[in-house]
C-alpha cells in the first residue's frame, strides 16, 4: 500500500490552499452568526446599538400569541410549499428525465430561463394576474362563473401560490438529477420479477430517488420561512411571516437585539431541519446541481 500514502502526502501539501476560503467563512459566516447569538441576549440602546443588561428577555418576548401565531403561520406556509412542490415537481422531474435527450435540453432551458430573471419580477407578474381587474378575474367574469371580481391579491392564498411558484425549480432540479443518475435496469428487474408498475415505483424508483426528494424538501422548506418580500408584495396586512417580523424589528423598530433573537429562533429551526436531513443521509452536495 505505497500508492495511497504517496497520494495522501501529496494531498496534505495542498490542504493549506483551502485556508483562505475557510478563513473567509469563519470570519463572515461563523463569527457573524456567533455575534448575532450574542446580540440576542442584550438590550437595545440608542441609535442601533446594543448592550447591558444581559438576559433572556428578548426570548421571553417571543413567547407571546403574536409571535407564536406568526411562527405557526410561517411553518404552515413552508410545509405546504414543500409538499406542493414535491407533488407537482416530482412527476415533472421524472418525466423530464425520461424524455429524449433533445427534448430534455429544451425543457431544462425553459425551466432555467425564468429562474435567471429576477424573482421580484416573476412575483410582480402574479400581482397583475391576481388583481381585481386582472386577467384571472376578467376570464372568470367573462365566462360567467362569478358575478363580482374575486379578492385574490393581498391574501394568504396569493402568498402560498407565489411561494410554490418561486420554489418549484429547487424541487425539480435535485429530483431530476437523482432520476437521471438512476440505474433503470433495477426497475426492469423488479418488473420482470412480477412487480406491478406501481409497486416497482414505490419499492425501487422512489427509494433510489429519495436523496433528490430530500434535498428538494429542504431547499423549498427553509427559504420559505425567510422570504419576506413575497408576503410584502402579495400578502395582506395580516400575513405576518417570520421573515416579515425579523425585517420589521430591524428596519422599522430598529431593535437589533430583538431581531437577533428572532433570527436565532429561525436559525435553530433551520439547524433542526438540516440535522434531520443529515440523519436521513442527505449531503450538502445534493443541494447544488
Amino acid at each position: 500500500m505505497t500508492a495511497p500514502t504517496k497520494l495522501d502526502k501529496h494531498q496534505r501539501t495542498r490542504e493549506p490552499l483551502a485556508f483562505p476560503m475557510m478563513l473567509y467563512a469563519v470570519l463572515f459566516v461563523g463569527l457573524s452568526l456567533l455575534y448575532i447569538a450574542g446580540l440576542s441576549v442584550m438590550t437595545r440602546g440608542a441609535d442601533f446599538t446594543a448592550g447591558a443588561p444581559y438576559g433572556l428577555h428578548n426570548y421571553e418576548r417571543i413567547i407571546s400569541p403574536l409571535y407564536l401565531k406568526s411562527l405557526l403561520q410561517s411553518l404552515r406556509l413552508a410545509f405546504y410549499t414543500a409538499l406542493f412542490c414535491m407533488l407537482l415537481g416530482y412527476p415533472f422531474a421524472y418525466f423530464m428525465a425520461k424524455a429524449s435527450p433533445k427534448a430534455r435540453t429544451w425543457i431544462m432551458m425553459l425551466l432555467i430561463v425564468p429562474f435567471w430573471t429576477n424573482a421580484l419580477i416573476r412575483i410582480y407578474g402574479w400581482k397583475i394576474l391576481f388583481s381585481s381587474s386582472g386577467p384571472i378575474n376578467q376570464a372568470l367574469l367573462g365566462v360567467g362563473l362569478i358575478q363580482q371580481p374575486l379578492r385574490l391579491l393581498y391574501t394568504d392564498f396569493a402568498v402560498q401560490v407565489g411561494m410554490i411558484y418561486a420554489m418549484i425549480p429547487f424541487m425539480v432540479l435535485p429530483v431530476y438529477s437523482s432520476v437521471e443518475r438512476m440505474d433503470w435496469s433495477t426497475v426492469e428487474a423488479s418488473r420482470d420479477l412480477g412487480a406491478t408498475p406501481l409497486k416497482a415505483f414505490l419499492t425501487v424508483t422512489l427509494p433510489m430517488t429519495l436523496p433528490g426528494v430530500l434535498a428538494g424538501l429542504v431547499l423549498t422548506f427553509i427559504p420559505s420561512i425567510g422570504l419576506f418580500f413575497l408576503s410584502d408584495l402579495l400578502g395582506g396586512s395580516n400575513t405576518m411571516l417570520w421573515g416579515n417580523m425579523v425585517h420589521n424589528e430591524l428596519l422599522k423598530s430598529r431593535d437589533l437585539p430583538f431581531a437577533a433573537a428572532l433570527s436565532v429562533v429561525l436559525l435553530g429551526l433551520t439547524g433542526l431541519v438540516i440535522l434531520i436531513y443529515r440523519r436521513m443521509g442527505g449531503r450538502a452536495e445534493s443541494m447544488v446541481f
Binding site: 490552499l17 419580477i121 388583481s131 391579491l153 427559504p223 418580500f229
Partner: protein
C-alpha cells in the same frame, strides 16, 4: 426504460405553461398604453413608452444595472479564487491516524461546513448577521460591503461544483505528472486547473446569476449611495404597480433567452464538430490500414 406516455407530456406542458403564465402577462402588459397606476390592468392599446422610461438618466435602470454588474463581477472573481483553491485543498482528504492529525482533520471538516453553510440557511439570517458584523467593524455600507457579502454566498456554489469535478477525475493523471518530475506548482497549473476549468466556469455562471438576482442580503447591507438592480425593482414594485417594470422584465427575459440560446447553439456546434473530427479520424485510420 419506457418512453413517456402522451399524458406525461401534457403534464409537463401544463406545468411549463403555469411557470410562464406570470411572465407572459408581464411581457404582454409591457406594451399596454394603460398606465394602470391603481391596480387597473385592462389592456387598452399598444405602446412603447414604458421602454423609454427605462432609459431615463435619473429614474431609469442604467445606474443600478451598472452597480449590479460591477458587484457580480468582483464577487464572482473573488469567489472563484477562494472556492477553486478550497476545492483543490479539500478534495480527497487524506486519512490521518495520529491524535494531532485527527484533530487537524476535525478542524478542516468544521471549516468546510462553515464554508457551505450560506447555501443552507435562510438568506435573511445571513443578511442580518452581516449587517450586525459590518456595523460592529465600522465598515461604511456601500459597494465594499455588498461585494464582501455576495462572496459569502457565491463561494459555496463554486466550491461544490469544482470539488465534484475534481473528485471524478483520475488521480493517476496527477501522479503520472509528479512521477515524471513536475513540481507541485507545475502539476497544479498544467494538470489540475485545466481539468477543473469547465466546472470553475459553470460554478462562476451560477454564482453570477445568484449575485445579480440577490435581493434579501443586498437589502440589509447596501449603503445610501449604492442601489442594485433587484433593490431598485423592489422599491418600484413595493409602492405600486409601475408599468415600466413590465418593460424591464421583457428586456431581461430577452437577454437571458439570447445568452442561453447562443450557449445551446455553441454546444450543439461543438458536439457536431467533435463528431466530424471523429469521422475524419476514422476515415484516416482506415486509409492507413488500407495502405498497410
Amino acid at each position: 426504460m419506457k418512453k413517456n406516455a402522451p399524458w406525461a407530456n401534457v403534464y409537463m406542458a401544463v406545468i411549463l405553461l403555469l411557470l410562464y403564465l406570470p411572465i407572459l402577462v408581464v411581457v404582454l402588459f409591457s406594451f399596454n398604453s394603460n398606465p394602470g397606476r391603481t391596480a387597473n390592468f385592462q389592456f387598452e392599446g399598444f405602446s412603447l413608452q414604458w421602454y423609454q422610461d427605462l432609459f431615463n438618466p435619473i429614474t431609469g435602470y442604467g445606474a443600478p444595472l451598472r452597480s449590479s454588474l460591477i458587484i457580480a463581477l468582483w464577487s464572482v472573481l473573488l469567489s472563484a479564487v477562494l472556492g477553486t483553491l478550497g476545492a483543490i485543498g479539500l478534495v480527497r482528504r487524506p486519512v490521518r491516524k495520529s491524535l494531532m492529525g485527527r484533530g487537524a482533520a476535525a478542524l478542516m471538516t468544521m471549516g468546510e461546513q462553515v464554508s457551505v453553510l450560506p447555501i443552507m440557511i435562510p438568506e435573511i439570517i445571513l443578511g442580518i448577521a452581516l449587517l450586525a458584523l459590518f456595523t460592529l467593524l465600522g465598515l461604511p455600507f456601500g459597494m465594499v460591503t455588498l461585494v464582501l457579502s455576495h462572496v459569502v454566498f457565491c463561494v459555496p456554489y463554486i466550491y461544490i461544483t469544482v470539488k465534484g469535478r475534481l473528485a471524478s477525475l483520475d488521480p493517476g493523471l496527477e501522479e503520472a505528472a509528479r512521477d515524471l518530475g513536475a513540481t507541485p506548482l507545475k502539476v497544479l497549473t498544467t494538470i489540475t486547473l485545466p481539468l477543473a476549468m469547465p466546472a470553475v466556469i459553470s460554478g462562476c455562471l451560477l454564482a453570477f446569476a445568484m449575485s445579480m438576482d440577490d435581493f434579501v442580503i443586498s437589502f440589509f447591507v447596501n449603503g445610501p449611495h449604492s442601489n442594485t438592480l433587484p433593490l431598485k425593482i423592489y422599491s418600484s414594485v413595493k409602492v405600486g404597480v409601475p408599468p415600466h417594470v413590465n418593460a424591464l422584465c421583457t428586456v431581461m427575459l430577452a437577454a437571458v433567452f439570447l445568452v442561453v440560446g447562443f450557449s445551446q447553439l455553441y454546444q450543439a456546434n461543438a458536439a457536431r464538430r467533435h463528431r466530424a473530427h471523429e469521422k475524419r479520424d476514422e476515415r484516416e485510420r482506415k486509409a492507413v490500414e488500407g495502405r498497410a
